[in-house]
Symmetry: C2
Subunit: 233 residues, 2 copies
DNA sequence: CGTCGTACCGAACGTTGTTCTATCGTATCG
DNA sequence: CGATACGATAGAACAACGTTCGGTACGACG
């Protein structure tokens, strides 16, 4: 048993991937520790292969991110398609947006990447179509329909970005919960001069321990109420 | 004259910075070529100094970005404060949001960073306060006020993110204008099966050559209409 | 004059995305 | 059956990045 590489027994074995496994493991990395955790080296290690092999499946990190995003958007899309549907297009629009937002809550990294490329043939485009089809049931101009869907997507993105940002180190460490972190923010706000910051004082209790989903639903309801008004129904 | 460093005449001169100049040059880099252009090395070169010197002013790139953002948000804040103001709080809210969005149109990189840290003592917090103060003039609960401002900020962020993404290489090269790029998208959409994508076909003409500011204003008007409804006025 | 704190900087470190080049295994073909 | 082509894999190297380390210049102060 010298130090030379043994060529028999447990010798170096080649890894055998597939587009599917690459994407699945990429998503797993993103899910476990967010966007910074997805590196070619970490991914290669998980796949039991070399770094350069991944480049056989994707041409760049951007493409990897796009494909990984599209991968999970496929699941979101079928969730949306499984939605019952009602006689109120605006209620249906709301249900779809809530479903989409729920997926982003479960995968915060999605917020930064979904809808970046509403590329031809992507699941994002199909989702966009699904949303838009509800506006076809409303009494609107094409112009208004286009803007309505943009607005709904905008609300989702706007709320998602808030959530998508990496939590500070102390939360990842488990040294502090999210509530503690938000609470410390609230505390600092309470220290502010009430003369200079009347509004901040007004809402600091609401901010403290607030729920992201509530916040999103409220914003969504506002634009949907505006849309209902616009459709004159 | 040996190869030794000359210590007289045009010998190496030390650069003398200041927090102000660091932030100004950082913003200049961001303005000229977007977020990827802001590197410590590029910044040091512009300042005529060494890379490590920057660390005397900021502890990390994150802090550099935060301070640069806050720097320009100061200007945005005074723009907002210079706004005339009317007897309709919702109109005022709209004017503020439009001003904010305008600043992001001029500096697309802002979209990704502003409101990331509504830190204590930041200009973003002051802007948040300014927005919120308008809701104090409306007949709402504190809960509703908090969500109203979140919604308005969400609309701005949602539209800004759309714009904030780096344009593809060919536009930076000048090989294609933005209109051409969007037009090619529209063309691809027109190729889609109208049976499968009725909505995309409905709005493809709107998408082609659409204006980001229009899109934003429409989304904003929808949530403001919803808000007006909620305030019962 | 010596010391201390501020301001500064070159060089190096570790990590990242990416490319180059070489290899293995298997199907195909003369 | 051997040669060849191609799909698939991988180690090593590269450039660029954020960051750290050690040290230098210099005015202020005792």
């Amino acid at each position: 048993m010298t130090g030379l590489q043994s060529r028999s027994g447990a010798g170096r074995r080649r890894a055998s991937h597939s587009m599917e496994s690459v994407l699945t493991e990429a998503v797993a990395l993103l899910d476990e520790a967010g966007a910074p955790a997805l590196t070619f080296r970490a991914l290669a290690q998980r796949l039991g292969g070399g770094v350069a092999s991944i480049y056989w499946y994707v041409a760049s990190k951007e493409e990897l991110l796009d494909r990984a995003t599209d991968h999970v958007m496929g699941a979101v899309l079928s969730d949306v398609e499984r939605l019952p549907g009602s006689d109120d297009p605006i209620d249906d629009l709301r249900a779809m947006a809530v479903t989409l937002f729920g997926a982003i809550v479960r995968r915060p990294w999605l917020g930064a990447y979904f809808m970046r490329n509403v590329d031809v043939q992507g699941n994002s485009l199909r989702l966009y179509e699904k949303l838009g089809r509800q506006t076809l049931r409303l009494n609107l101009t094409a112009h208004q329909r286009f803007h309505a869907v943009s607005a709904v997507v905008g609300v989702v993105v706007g709320s998602a970005v808030d959530m998508g940002q990496e939590p500070p180190q102390e939360i990842l460490d488990g040294a502090a919960t999210r509530e503690e972190f938000l609470g410390r923010f609230a505390e600092a706000w309470r220290e502010l001069d009430p003369e200079d910051f009347p509004f901040v004082h007004e809402i600091v209790d609401e901010f403290d321990g607030h729920d992201d989903v509530d916040q999103f639903r409220s914003a969504l309801d506002l634009t949907l109420a505006g849309l209902r008004l616009q459709a004159g129904a």
